[in-house]
C-alpha cells in the first residue's frame, strides 16, 4: 500500500545502524532539559536552582491544555534555569541538572494494570501527567491528539512505523526490541479513542519488525500493514491515504478524515506511562553517518548534549560539515555541539563537508521530476519560479500552503534548485500577510 508521488532516496543509509541493538549509556554528569520542546506553550518550571530532584520527578508543569509536563531524566541537583543553545539555532530555555550518578528514582505513578476497564479520561490524564508528546518529529502533546473535538468522528487509529527518513533506524529497533509495548500502546490508545480499527503501518524494508509485530498482534484488534518503501510514506496525510484510503482535506487535520496518527515510539512510551507509571524521560536515538566511528542506536536521556552522544558513538573519523537533528530529508542542521536532545530527536546525522556543500543550483530545465515526486501533487517548479519572481498571488493560487515541506522536490531536482526552501519562505511570507 502506498500513495501517489514521492521519491526513492537512492542510498537510504539505514544499513549503518539497523542491526545495532539499542545500548543504554552510563549516566552523564550534566543534562540540559529543554523547556520549549513541544508544540504549544512551554511548560513552567516547578523547581528552583539548588533543588534536589529524583529521576522521573516533575520539573516543569504543563501551562495550559496544549502543553506537556517535563520530568527529570536522572537524580541530582538543579544547577541552572536559563538559556542554552537550542535545536532551532537560537538560544532556548532549559533546566540544567547536575547528576549525582545514583540515577535514583523519585516516586512514580502507580501502574494501571486494569487499563482495559479503566475510564478513558483517566488514561488520557495519565499520558498528560507523564509528559507524552509525539516522538516522530512534531512533538505534539499526545493527550491533545487523543482528545479530538467531539464534532469529529474518529474511527481509525494509525501507528506510524514507516520510518521513511533515510539513515534513521530508531523506530525500527524499537519495534524489534519492544514489540509487545508497541502493541499494548496501540491498544491503550484505541481504548482512549474508542476505536476498533487499529493499524500499524511499517515499510516493507523492515521485514523483521513486521514479522515480530504480526506474531504478537494475533488475537488483538491491531493490524500490521506493510507499506511500500517510498519517501514520505511516514507523512501523516500519506499514511492515512495508504492505510485508510482517505484524503485529509486541504487545511484539515487527520481527525477530519476520521483518523488519529501516532508514532510507534509514542505508543511504547504510552505503555510505560500506563502499565509502569513511568514519565517520558528517555528515547532511542540513532547516531549515524559515514564519518561516525561506531554508528548505532542509544537509549538517551532527554537533555543529553549532542557532543556526549557523539562521544558514545566513538567520535568521528573526520571533521563533519553538517550535523543534523532528525533525518536528512526533514531534519535540522545544528550550529552548536552543546544542543541537547529532546523528546522528538529521532536521530543525529553527520555529513561530510563535501556532502554538505555538494551542489550549485542552476536553471530549471522543466524535467518535471519535482512534479512527479510531489506527494501533494503540486507543480513545484512552477511554484518555485512564481515565488522567485515575488508572485505571491500565483503561489497562493497554486496551493503553496498545502506543501508539507517534505523536500522530495529539492531532493530529485537535477538542477539542484532550492525548491522546498522557496516554498517554506513563501509560506512564512504569506502567513505574515494574513
Amino acid at each position: 500500500m502506498t500513495f501517489e508521488g514521492g521519491i526513492h532516496p537512492a542510498d537510504s543509509g539505514k544499513v549503518l545502524t539497523d542491526n545495532r541493538p539499542t545500548l543504554t549509556p552510563p549516566v552523564l554528569e550534566r543534562y540540559q532539559v529543554l523547556l520549549c520542546e513541544n508544540v504549544g506553550k512551554p511548560p513552567k518550571p516547578v523547581v528552583n536552582v539548588g533543588d534536589q530532584v529524583g529521576k522521573y520527578q516533575l520539573i516543569a508543569a504543563a501551562d495550559g491544555f496544549v502543553s506537556a509536563n517535563l520530568h527529570s531524566p536522572t537524580s541530582g541537583k538543579v544547577v541552572k534555569i536559563g538559556d542554552v543553545p537550542g535545536p532551532m539555532g537560537i538560544p532556548a530555555p532549559a533546566i540544567e541538572i547536575e547528576a549525582d550518578g545514583e540515577d535514583a528514582s523519585a516516586e512514580t505513578f502507580p501502574g494501571l494494570a486494569g487499563w482495559r476497564d479503566a475510564d478513558p479520561k483517566e488514561l488520557v490524564k495519565r499520558l498528560a501527567d507523564c509528559g507524552l508528546v509525539g516522538m516522530g518529529g512534531a512533538s505534539f502533546p499526545t493527550h491533545v491528539k487523543l482528545s479530538p473535538p467531539p464534532d469529529k468522528k474518529v474511527d481509525t487509529l494509525i501507528l506510524n512505523g514507516a520510518e521513511c527518513e533515510p539513515f534513521l533506524t530508531a523506530d525500527h529497533r524499537l519495534m524489534l526490541e519492544r514489540p509487545r509495548d508497541v502493541i499494548t500502546g496501540a491498544e491503550i490508545m484505541a481504548r482512549i479513542l474508542g476505536v476498533d480499527d487499529v493499524n500499524i503501518g511499517i515499510e516493507i524494508n523492515k521485514r523483521d519488525a513486521i514479522e515480530s509485530l504480526e506474531t504478537l498482534a494475533e488475537g488483538t484488534k491491531v493490524k500490521i500493514i506493510p507499506l511500500m518503501v517510498r519517501y514520505p510514506q511516514g507523512s501523516e496525510k500519506h499514511l492515512i491515504q495508504a492505510i485508510a484510503g482517505r484524503e485529509v482535506p486541504s487545511g484539515g487535520l487527520p481527525a477530519d478524515a476520521g483518523c488519529v496518527v501516532q508514532n510507534v515510539a509514542t505508543a511504547a512510551a504510552c505503555t510505560d506511562a500506563v502499565l509502569r507509571g513511568l514519565p517520558l524521560v528517555e528515547r532511542i536515538v540513532t547516531v549515524t553517518g559515514e564519518i561516525v566511528c561506531r554508528p548505532g542506536n542509544w537509549k538517551l536521556k532527554i537533555g543529553t548534549p549532542l557532543l556526549e552522544a557523539l562521544r558514545l558513538a566513538g567520535g568521528v573519523t573526520e571533521e563533519p560539515g553538517k550535523i543534523i537533528f532528525g533525518g536528512p530529508m526533514m531534519g535540522f542542521a545544528q550550529r552548536s555541539l552543546e544542543v541537547p536532545i529532546s523528546k522528538n530527536t529521532s536521530g543525529i546525522l553527520l555529513l561530510t563537508r563535501e556532502e554538505a556543500l555538494r551542489h550549485r543550483s542552476t536553471s530549471c530545465i522543466r524535467c518535471g521530476r519535482c512534479v512527479q515526486g510531489c506527494p501533494m501533487h503540486l507543480a513545484s517548479c512552477l511554484l518555485a519560479t512564481a515565488i522567485e519572481n515575488g508572485r505571491w498571488d500565483l503561489a497562493l493560487q497554486n496551493h503553496v500552503m498545502d506543501c508539507i515541506e517534505c523536500g522530495s522536490c529539492a531532493y530529485v531536482c537535477p538542477a539542484h534548485r532550492p525548491l522546498v526552501q522557496l516554498m517554506r519562505s513563501a509560506k512564512m511570507e504569506l502567513r505574515k500577510k494574513r
Binding site: D155, P320, I323, L337, R366
Partner: protein, 366 residues
C-alpha cells in the same frame, strides 16, 4: 582545522558547520548527466543514419554538433557568461545532434553552420539560455532553414539499398535527378484537393502503401533526414529515453496515436485523399519528432495531463498539414506551435492537489 582529542576519541570541534534548511541530501542526477543520457539515446539513430546515408551523414552530425557548441561558446564569451560551465552541461551538444538528425545527409557545409546559430542564438540564448527557451532550439533552426533555403533542405540522398530494391518509388522519381530521391511523403503530397472528387485526380495510394514497401519504410530504406528514417533505431532510442525517465511516454504515444487516428478517419471517409495511417506513421519525421523533439523537457508541459493535450495538439496539426497543407511534412511546425501553448497548458492542466477531493458521504464510515 584542529580536532579535540580525548581518550583517543576524535570529536568534532563544531567549527565551520554548514547551516542550511532541509533536505540535506540530494540526488546524484545532474543536468549534465541527463544530457549525456539523451546523447546516448541518440546513438542508435545516428548509427542508423550513418549506415543508410554513408559517412557524409557522420560528417554532418559531427560538424553540426561542433557548430552548436561553438555558437554557444561564442555567445557566452560575448555576454561574459562562464563559457566552460555552460558547455559542460552538454545541452548544446544535444541540440547539435538533434539538428543534424533533422538535416538531409547531403547538405552543403553552410547549412549546419547557419542552423547552429539559429538554434543556439535565436532558439535558446536570447531567451536566457537552457531552461528558458519556449521553443525547441533544434526545431527553430530546422524550420528557419526550411523556409530560408528550401532547396538545400529537401535534396534527399538516396539511402543504401534503395536503387536495387525500390521499383515502386522509381515510378515516382521520374522527375527527380539521379543524385537525389523523393521522400515517400513528398510523393504522397502531390495529391488532389479534398474537394476534387474525380477519380482521375486521385492517387492510387495502394501502391504507396503495399505491405512490402511499408516494411522497407520501417527498416529505414527511404529518402529523408539523417535521423528520421530508421524506425527500429528510433524506437530503441525512445526506449532508452523512457528507461532513464527522460521523457513522458504520453507524448510519443498520444502524438503518433492522434496522427494514426486522424489520418485513419480521413483515409476511410474520403478515399484517395491521404495514404493509410501506417504510411503516415512510418514516413516523414513523425517518429523522430514524437520521440526526440516533442518530448524535450524544457519545451513540453510538466504534468501528465498537459503532455496528453500537448501531444494530441501536435498530432492534429501534423495531420492537417500533411493532408491539406502546402508542405508535405508538418511535424516541426506542429511541435513549434504547441511549444508556444505550453505556458497555457501548464496553467490549465494541473494535477488535483492532495486533499482537494469533494466530500462523499461514504467517506465517513459507520
Amino acid at each position: 582545522m584542529s580536532e579535540e582529542v580525548k581518550n583517543d576519541i576524535k570529536l568534532p570541534t563544531g567549527k565551520r558547520l554548514v547551516l542550511s534548511s532541509s533536505p540535506h541530501i540530494s540526488t546524484s542526477e545532474s543536468v549534465r548527466k541527463i544530457m549525456l543520457k539523451v546523447l546516448l539515446a541518440m546513438v542508435p539513430v545516428c548509427a542508423a543514419g550513418v549506415w543508410f546515408f554513408g559517412l557524409r551523414a557522420l560528417w554532418v552530425i559531427v560538424f553540426t554538433t561542433a557548430c552548436c557548441v561553438g555558437a554557444e561558446a561564442l555567445w557566452c564569451a560575448m555576454t561574459k557568461k562562464p563559457v566552460l560551465a555552460t558547455i559542460r552541461d552538454c545541452s548544446a551538444a544535444v541540440t547539435g545532434v538533434l539538428l543534424a538528425l533533422n538535416l538531409p545527409a547531403g547538405v552543403p557545409f553552410y547549412v549546419p553552420l547557419i542552423g547552429a546559430f539559429l538554434a543556439i542564438w535565436l532558439g535558446k540564448q536570447i531567451f536566457g539560455g537552457l531552461g528558458h527557451n519556449p521553443f525547441n532550439p533544434a526545431l527553430v533552426a530546422r524550420v528557419g532553414l526550411l523556409i530560408a533555403i528550401p532547396a538545400a533542405m529537401t535534396s534527399w540522398t538516396p539511402p543504401r539499398g534503395m536503387d536495387q530494391n525500390y521499383p515502386e518509388l522509381k515510378e515516382f522519381r521520374a522527375s527527380v535527378d539521379a543524385t537525389t530521391c523523393a521522400t515517400p511523403l513528398g510523393v504522397a503530397g502531390q495529391r488532389p484537393k479534398l474537394t476534387d472528387r474525380t477519380t482521375a485526380a486521385r492517387i492510387n495510394f495502394s501502391k504507396l502503401a503495399s505491405g512490402r514497401l511499408l516494411l522497407r519504410f520501417f527498416w529505414g530504406v527511404r529518402g529523408g533526414c539523417i535521423g528520421e528514417t530508421c524506425v527500429p533505431a528510433l524506437l530503441l532510442g525512445g526506449l532508452i529515453l523512457f528507461a532513464f525517465n527522460l521523457i513522458n511516454w504520453r507524448v510519443p504515444l498520444c502524438f503518433a496515436g492522434t496522427v494514426a487516428l486522424f489520418t485513419g478517419i480521413v483515409n476511410i471517409c474520403w478515399p484517395g485523399v491521404t495514404p493509410p495511417p501506417l504510411f503516415h506513421l512510418l514516413t516523414g519525421g513523425l517518429l523522430l519528432g514524437a520521440i526526440f523533439m516533442a518530448t524535450d523537457m524544457v519545451t513540453c508541459p510538466i504534468t501528465g495531463s498537459g503532455c496528453v493535450v500537448f501531444a494530441i495538439g501536435c498530432g492534429i496539426i501534423t495531420s492537417v498539414i500533411r493532408i491539406w497543407g502546402n508542405y508535405p511534412e508538418g511535424v516541426s511546425f506542429s511541435i513549434l506551435f504547441m511549444n508556444a501553448l505550453v505556458p497555457l497548458i501548464d496553467r490549465w492542466c494541473t494535477d488535483r492537489p492532495f486533499g482537494y477531493v469533494r466530500k462523499r458521504k461514504s467517506e465517513v464510515r459507520k
